[in-house]
């Protein structure tokens, strides 16, 4: 039988119907801002996403460490995606490009990374979504969850994670002055102490991780990585994109700086203040 106009008509009807259901209008139109955030929070801490049922977004982005963790690296896979230090999610909505190499443009896209057969959850998105059906926090809305709704909700929740409120005491002022004198704000600029650009540290010359180059293909981007916000650094050591710096001294050496013990302590107190901590220096 030819693929005639009648079949085409049926096809068009199917397309119209599937477009309607795929957009999941009930979910997307019924939720107010607070409900989106609530749904996103539930999904963020949901372990049923993962193949073994024991990994959620919070497995790596742990609230107690500024929505990061304290491992040097995580998140790589056998398919050429390098393992890297987990970035903090605090203040993530300020970023225009995400990940150390800027390969991701939005929080919604970022949420696709674990929701991927080769991603952290180890299942194709359709299977992950299937596992969530029947969850209380979904049942109360009466709609099934699709991928677009899921990543939108996850993004809305992460947008509420703001940077810590800095403690602006004398240690903050002393640290800021030193920081400015050293011209650190050339890269660690603005309210989040990041210029949102990609730089190559002096000590990071070659490694298997090509950094920004893998995204842009521009040779000058080799081994360049996104400037991290300093407001959250202290919350989740070790430091740098590959977690190679176990302490602040090693991090400064990677920047090509040899600091005195006094300067290191001054900088530690400054980073603590940026992270909202007000611990006094040891006597």
């Amino acid at each position: 039988m030819p693929w005639n106009p009648y079949l085409k008509l049926l096809g068009l009807f199917w397309v119209l119907m599937s477009c309607n259901s795929a957009s999941n209008p009930s979910f997307e139109t019924d939720l107010d801002s607070a409900a989106w955030v609530e749904l996103g929070k539930s999904l963020f801490f949901e372990t049923a996403w993962s193949k073994n049922g024991d990994v959620s977004c919070a497995h790596c982005h742990r609230p107690e460490f500024g929505f990061s963790d304290t491992l040097p690296r995580a998140g790589g896979n056998a398919f050429g995606v390098p393992a890297r230090n987990i970035p903090s999610l605090l203040g993530v909505s300020r970023k225009t490009l995400l990940n150390w190499d800027g390969g991701v443009r939005s929080l919604e896209e970022q949420a696709l990374i674990p929701l991927h057969a080769e991603g952290d959850f180890g299942l194709p998105p359709a299977q992950s979504l299937q596992r969530l059906q029947g969850k209380d926090y979904l049942e109360k809305w009466g709609y099934s969850l699709n991928l677009r709704t899921a990543v939108t909700a996850l993004a809305r929740f992460q947008q509420t994670l703001t940077l810590p409120e800095p403690v602006m005491d004398k240690h903050y002022q002393i640290g800021l002055e030193w920081f400015q004198n050293q011209n650190c704000q050339q890269c660690h600029a603005g309210p989040s102490f990041s210029d949102g650009k990609f730089h190559r540290l002096k000590a990071v010359k070659t490694s298997a991780d090509l950094g920004r180059y893998r995204i842009t293909g521009i040779p000058q981007d080799s081994f360049a990585f996104l400037t991290p916000s300093l407001c959250t650094s202290w919350l989740s050591p070790p430091f740098l994109h590959d977690g190679q710096a176990q302490n602040l001294n090693e991090a400064m050496q990677a920047h090509g700086l040899e600091l005195s013990q006094g300067e290191i302590q001054l900088l530690e107190l400054f980073l603590q203040r940026l992270a909202g901590m007000a611990a006094e220096p040891p006597s």
């Binding site: 693929w3 085409k8 795929a22 991928l147 677009r148």
Partner: protein, 246 residues
Amino acid sequence: MKSIRLLFFLLLPLLGCTTVDADVEVVPVLEWDGEALTLNQDVMRNGQSLRFTEISFYISDVHVLQGNSKSNPQSINLIKNGQGRFGVVLPQSINPDTFYFSLGVPSSFNDSSGSLAKPAWQYGDENPLSAAQNMYWSWKPGYIFMKLEGRIDLDGDAQYISAGETFSIHTGLNSLLRTISLANPSNQIAPKYALKMDLARLFDGYDLQGAGLNVHAMSSQDADFVRAEYISNRLSNAFYALEPLP
């Protein structure tokens, strides 16, 4: 929902007036060495047994030529695990001797800079371009054009249980979009064709061991890009014929 139904019934008479000289349905048919191939079926290559567990790819920009113009707008079709089909709308008064299509997603939908193409997460889950189809790189903007996954008996023990006896070859990138042309085997247009894809031809000369087992070139800078390019360049050999179906 009501508005959609209303739109459907409003469109109904208009669609009834549409005249198409010939619509052609194309059904991809997978083969290995000229024999029908199904998922999880053991086949032999260079004395080693292997089986495919996933064979998925995008077919887009299906067209014929009318003078110097393409016949119909771009379409993007996902053939998932060998299942799927697509159509060709022919212009009036044309009896093409060649059909053209691309293996992959056109650059206008696959903008690696991310500034032009609609993000994959914004499509409905059923759309071929939705990230829900698990054909999106995720770590950077862009689609996987073709996924070939399976198991290979590297140590010859007639099992696939030893470490490393899997393969996963994912190709993508705008530079690896390949246009394939296939001749219409007769001077008549058939309503339905089988599009023969022989995977043994695709792997001809490919080193399916070691680094060749896992290819995921998300970037032309990746070490495995050369392998992805090799496979992509074999596509015109793998898609080798159109055959009319009853």
